[in-house]
């Protein structure tokens, strides 16, 4: 599971969520756009959070140093 493949998963999840919301509650164009905005914002937020943490661990400058006998 590399960076791009997981990103793709996030993207697909966003698409699936917005499609299903569109199919479940279709309440006119302005509401649909509102729902779409919410889902895009949520997906982007979640993806950013994940991507930041993933990237930070990709090339570690410091590594875990175990806490030995206390």
């Amino acid at each position: 599971m590399g960076f791009w493949s997981t990103t793709l998963i996030f993207f697909l999840a966003g698409v699936v969520a917005s499609l299903s919301l569109r199919l479940c509650c279709n309440r006119g164009p302005s509401t649909n756009l509102f729902h779409l905005t919410l889902i895009i914002t949520a997906t982007v937020c979640c993806w950013m959070m994940w991507a930041i943490v993933y990237l930070a661990q990709m090339n570690p400058l410091i590594v875990p140093v175990l806490n030995g006998e206390k």
């Binding site: 302005s30 914002t41 937020c45 994940w50 930041i52 090339n59 570690p60 400058l61 140093v65």
Partner: protein, 821 residues
């Protein structure tokens, strides 16, 4: 609305719910006076029209319906009296019946008047009876105690007399007091003493005694007996501890003095005779009357309770009706009376979509009131700023309130509420990342949501009310906390290997240098969230601090950019190209050439694994931009890029500052001139032109506009730095949260576990639970909430949000019942 290109559908994008406030219009309603009441009532049911006060210059007493309002006030007072009496009698009013029996306003007024008179009379009677009853009780006590006292005094007197007699027999006794001998031997010299008895409150008894003593210069004999149980004072009706007193005095003047003192001390006096026979008779008489009165009082109370129960049955309905009528007359008072006195003219704001509904309500009212003339509904043109109205549902309301608490959006301004729905709980969760805690919050808020119907109908406490109101906010917060908790890999601070094996392993089989050199990255990066191996290692904190700090900056820059883009949408919507070119563009450039670049550096550093010092790069980008970067270089051409970015940032500051005021001035002059010419043409729509003219004739103060722009620029430039720094609170709070939960887990739960004792384990567990709930789930939630709030109000909203609108407050009966008490 004066400018149609501004109002209708805006400039740029397809309409979105909640993004822009509802389009409003100023309307005029002309209602014939005979159907006015019904019209207002129907409009109140609809609740989509906000009336303007057209009689603002008149005092409340000068208005048309002042009298009716007074009547309503009087009725409300009566209802309050009933409610008071009902609570006193412990009768709760029945819930409002679903079926409305129609009650006429005038009938209700008469009925309430009658009921009040009856109730007052019954109460007065009862009070009188109660007072007599209490007096009799006191009297009985006085009779009892004083009787005892007199009896004992008399028996001791006779005993003494007998003793004296004995003494007299044996003369010779030297000890026999001379005086007593004299007194007893000479009864003709005895003075007739008067006496008085009654009850005095216990706390005043000492002072009472002293004053009596002083006033009569000691020529008084006072005897007090304490009563064990407090008695009900006939005057005040309160339970008071009292003393029975008997006071002996001599002379008429002393009597007058004592009477006055008794009065001053609130001491109730009661007649008493020395004669035993009469005493017995009186006691009997008093007891008889007491029982008699008791039954009378009971019957009276029963009667009163019956009246109150009848009232309670319909109380809510009446209350509702009176409140409704009052609000109707209040609204009618805002309408102005036509010169012919045959119709009322009202003006108000309503959403454009409600036009047909309002017209329909007006028609129904005309029809139902059998009015000869219909009402007139027309849209007015105005340059005034309409109120802001967002149609929210139960989910979006709480988020919109978060935004409104900062400031109500200007009419049709981009509403940060749309993004707040996601970003607010998200930023909260960044600070509250623990999926165990998130689950607890989720369960709590789900309980609220499941019992939503029941809870919304009943009255809750202050804190509970607030929590209930924000239940969907908390729901979102908990869902995002679970997500960020999974990313942080913390479940009550314990990591789990949920998404595959850790990326780190020992360098060799012996694992000798794991505590000195550390582990080595042996597999692919942990696919989701923080690697579980980090937990409890010595390098955990440096790693997490660096990660969270950088994450805060990245998230902050992203959100601030979103804010700046929203300012673009605002400018586009209002057709304000000056704001786009001389505010939005330089702002975007400035922020991104500094902090956008920093974000880029962070990401590049992560991707390449470079050891460059970002602080150094950023600081020397300003101090000596032409120097070589040396080992801190992250990518080729970085120096060139930095120079360009620095130049852009430097250019964008004057770009923000200077052009806008000058362009505004030019624009103003052009408009001014153009108008002078067009005035001559339009005779047909002179009203509108006049209206616009009045609006534009405002003096254009260049210096003021310039200073305003200066402040705005300085705020943005300094804000870019301080706001980015402000986002570091995300790091600080999330660090505090994870450290606290680690402490509770390790120092409480694991410590208790280590003792291998069930008892200690239970104590440790209980302490852990309370600490988790009290500190982490309540206090930490609050603090993370407040910090997320601040990040939205200040760092996000100051990029685009004016927030100087005013809220649409329609005349509505549903709102009326919500804000009762």
């Amino acid at each position: 609305m004066a400018d149609p290109s501004r109002g209708r559908s805006g400039g740029c994008c397809p309409p979105m719910d909640l993004m822009r406030s509802e389009e409003m219009q100023l309307v005029q309603v002309i209602v014939p006076i005979e159907s006015s009441h019904l019209t207002i009532s129907y409009l109140g049911d609809l609740g989509l029209l906000q009336f303007k006060d057209l009689n603002a210059d008149k005092s409340p007493f000068q208005r048309t319906y002042a009298n009716q309002i007074k009547r309503c006030g009087e009725m409300a007072r009566k209802l309050r009296l009933f409610r008071e009496q009902m609570t006193k009698a412990g009768i709760s009013s029945a819930a409002m019946a679903d079926t409305w029996t129609h009650v006429d306003f005038d009938d209700l007024e008469i009925k309430l008047g009658e009921l009040e008179a009856e109730l007052v009379e019954v109460n007065a009677n009862n009070e009188k009876l109660q007072r007599t009853y209490n007096e009799l009780l006191e009297y009985k006590l006085v009779l009892q105690k004083t009787g005892e006292f007199f009896y004992s005094a008399q028996s001791s007197a006779t005993a003494q007399q007998r003793e004296i007699g004995a003494h007299q027999v044996g003369i010779g006794s030297l000890e026999s007091p001379l005086l007593e001998q004299e007194m007893s031997s000479d009864p003709s010299k005895q003075v007739k003493l008067g006496f008085m008895c009654g009850l005095v409150p216990k706390e005043k008894s000492m002072a009472f005694e002293r004053i009596l003593f002083r006033a009569t210069r000691g020529n008084v004999y006072l005897k007090q007996v304490q009563i064990d149980e407090p008695v009900t004072d006939p005057v005040s009706g309160e339970k008071v501890a009292k003393n029975v007193f008997v006071v002996f005095y001599s002379g008429e003047r002393a009597k007058i003095k004592i009477l006055k003192i008794c009065e001053a001390f609130g001491a109730n006096r009661y007649p008493f005779t020395e004669d035993f026979g009469k005493q017995m008779q009186m006691t009997e008489e008093v007891s008889g009357r007491i029982t008699e009165l008791k039954t009378t009082i009971d019957i009276g109370l029963l009667h009163r309770d019956n009246i109150l129960k009848n009232i309670a049955h319909q109380f809510e309905q009446w209350n509702h009706l009176v409140r409704r009528e009052k609000s109707i007359f209040h609204t009618l008072n805002m309408l102005s009376l036509d010169v012919t006195k045959k119709c009322l003219v009202g003006e108000g704001w309503c959403p454009v979509f409600a036009t047909s509904q309002i017209q329909d309500a007006l028609q129904r009212a005309t029809f139902d009131s059998n009015s000869q003339v219909g009402s007139i509904f027309q849209v007015l043109q105005t340059g005034e700023l309409p109120p802001t109205y967002f149609q929210t549902n139960k989910f979006t309301t709480a988020f919109q309130e978060i935004v409104d608490a900062y400031g109500v959006a200007k009419y049709q301004e981009a509403n940060p509420g749309v993004f707040t729905i996601i970003t607010f709980p998200f930023l909260f969760a960044v600070m509250f990342g623990d999926w165990g805690h998130g689950l607890c919050l989720l369960v709590a808020t789900l309980l609220l949501i499941i019992r939503e119907k029941k809870l919304s109908s009943q009255k809750l406490g202050d804190i509970m009310e607030m929590t209930f109101g924000g239940r969907y906010v908390i729901l979102m917060m908990s869902v995002f906390s679970i997500y960020t908790g999974l990313i942080y890999n913390e479940f009550f601070s314990v990591p789990f290997e949920l998404f595959g094996p850790s990326a780190y392993a020992c360098r060799d089989a012996s694992c000798r240098d794991a505590t000195t050199e550390g582990l080595i990255k042996a597999r692919r990066t942990y696919p989701f969230g923080v690697d579980p191996k980090w937990h409890g290692t010595r390098s955990e904190l440096p790693f997490l601090n660096s990660l969270k700090m950088k994450m805060s900056i990245l998230l902050g820059v992203a959100q601030m950019n979103l804010g700046i883009f929203l300012s673009y949408f605002n400018a586009k919507f209002f057709g304000n190209s000056i704001n786009i070119w001389y505010q939005f563009v330089p702002q975007l450039i400035f922020l991104n050439s500094l902090f956008g670049y920093l974000s880029l550096l962070i990401i590049v550093k992560w991707c390449t694994g470079s050891k460059a010092d970002l602080y150094h790069v950023m600081i020397y980008m300003f101090l000596s931009p032409t120097d070589e970067l040396g080992e801190n270089a992250l990518f080729p051409g970085q120096k060139m890029l930095q120079l360009v970015l620095l130049a852009l940032a430097l250019i964008s500051v004057p770009w923000m500052l200077f052009p806008k005021p000058f362009l505004l001035k030019k624009q103003h002059q052009e408009r001014h001139q153009g108008q002078a010419y067009t005035m001559l043409h339009g005779n047909d729509n002179s009203l509108e032109v006049e209206d616009n003219g009045a609006h534009d004739h405002e003096e254009f103060e260049f210096s003021e506009v310039f200073v305003h722009q200066l402040i705005h620029t300085i705020e943005f430039v300094l804000g870019a730095v301080s706001n980015t720094a402000s986002y570091l609170r995300l790091w600080a709070l999330s660090l505090a949260h994870s450290e606290l939960s680690t402490v509770f887990y390790e120092k409480v739960l694991l410590l208790a576990w280590g003792f291998n004792n069930v008892f200690i384990l239970i104590i440790g567990f209980v302490v852990f639970i309370f600490a988790t709930i009290g500190v982490l789930l309540v206090m930490e939630t609050l603090s993370a909430f407040l910090h997320a709030l601040r990040l939205h109000w200040v760092e996000f909203q100051n990029k685009f949000y004016e927030g100087d609108g005013y809220k649409f407050a329609p005349f509505s009966f549903t709102l009326l019942s919500a804000e009762d008490d």
